[in-house]
């Protein structure tokens, strides 16, 4: 049973989510990777603010095509490794009122504390599913810092429909990544003896 989430996402919606829930995302997302996160923490730009309130940050460096009329299209757009944003993520969530961080691989303690404090969740998309996830992008609403950051790092603002993801860190301190690490470490003991 998939839970539908529509931006702007409310605090009440977030508090209902728990680790392992499958969700479908609808509405606005902002793509940001390493340069974007550094910029949001150091410069706190306002141009991105309206898209992030109650919104979703997506860790993704897409393959993008420009058509003859100058319009942009996502060709492949799966998640990238989230842990690189660990130094920045909690601060970005607090500064901009972000409700969901979407990526792959999960995040660490600082982000977990940030998710609990600001009532937000970490969502995991299927890594490698570039073509399928690009098709859940309905339109590209805007792009910022394209010249300066380049295609994979720019702030792409997109609208998505039925974008699939799994809650792997919830606002109550739960982390599927920690659970699986603990379980697999226990299973590894004695496996080769």
């Amino acid at each position: 049973m998939k839970i539908r989430l529509q931006t702007p996402i409310s605090e009440a919606d977030i508090l209902k989510l728990k680790v392992g829930d499958e969700v479908e995302l609808n509405g606005t997302m902002v793509l940001a990777r390493d340069m974007g996160h550094k910029c949001m923490v150091e410069e706190k730009p306002d141009f991105i603010r309206p898209f992030l309130a109650g919104g979703i940050i997506y860790h993704c460096g897409p393959v993008v095509r420009k058509d003859e009329a100058g319009g942009w299209h996502f060709v492949a757009a799966g998640p990238t490794t989230s842990s690189r944003e660990e130094p920045y993520q909690a601060d970005v969530i607090g500064e901009y009122g972000v409700r969901a961080v979407l990526g792959k691989g999960g995040m660490k303690e600082k982000t977990r504390a940030g998710l609990m404090q600001h009532k937000a969740v970490y969502l995991h998309a299927v890594g490698g599913a570039g073509t399928l996830l690009a098709r859940r992008v309905v339109r590209i609403m805007d792009v910022f810092k394209l010249e300066e950051f380049g295609t994979p790092e720019a702030f792409w603002v997109i609208e998505v429909k039925d974008f699939p993801a799994v809650v792997t860190m919830d606002a109550h301190g739960g982390s599927l990544h920690d659970d699986v690490l603990k379980d697999s470490t226990a299973r590894a003991k004695g496996l080769l003896d």
Binding site: G20, E22, C60, G61, P62, V63, V64, R65, V75, A76, A77, G78, T80, T81, S83, K104, G105, G106, H124, V126, G127, G128, A129, G130, T131, L132, L133, A134, R135, G150, T151, P152, P164, V166, T168, L176, H177, D179, V180, L181, D183, S184, T185, R187, A188, L191, L192
Partner: protein, 288 residues
Amino acid sequence: MLQDAFLELLRRAACDLPPDVEAALRQAYEREEAGQPAKSVFGTILENVAMAREASTPICQDTGSINFYIDFPVGQREQDYRVAAEAAAAEGTKRTYLRPNAVNPITGKNSGNNVGVNAPFFHFHQWAEPYTRVRVMLKGGGSENVGAQYRLPDTSIGAGRDLNGIKKCILDAVLKAQGFGCSPGAIGVGIGGDRMTSYLLSKEQFFRRLGSVNEDATLARMETELCGKLNELNIGPMGFGGKTTVLGVHIGAQHRHPATFFVAITYMCWAYRRKTMTIRDGEVRYED
């Protein structure tokens, strides 16, 4: 034209998963229970693979580092292949089969066309055959980050200079990788050699098909045993928990210096992209 042949090879590599890999993913899908995130992940992966093939779009937006292994007949020039392959990589980037993935580590500047110093990576080999064989592997960055090299003995994991020690290295690497390399991965292992050649050997294992049997009986037994045991870890697809943690384990061994004993492990994400092209009397053929 040679450049067109390379371009088609890159398109196929980026957009069309080899059948052995797709079959392994389908089996993994069937093993998972309905209603679990693991089942949904494999469902999404299989749907994505079919879509990418149909539309000639990249399976994954990280189209990886490009590795070419080129065997060519006596009397031909490496340079001709290099020029054609680099031009094809640049054209493939323009056509969005490939994402620009060559970044200058000093200036931070992306070359924009996948061509740079040692990018693509070439391994040339002149052979006695009358035809050319080009093998290409697209190696994702996320999975490359979870590779590991061990120097035996390694007391931190209780690994000595023996078969059990080697197995402990492989188990440790897969456990540490969790879902970060886009599991379920294929595991390439290089035993022996030096710092450089152990990694190289581990990566060359990915030119083997999944399910192929190692010619060395000891290594073949080790591959089967490890594949079974690693799947008991329950790390599952994306690290969500599940019955398939690895798609296969491929191991190579080479002689070592008496003083050294390296075990290198390279992790290939589930988007295990490789393709082969042969050129015989001007006729180009593509294989998986």
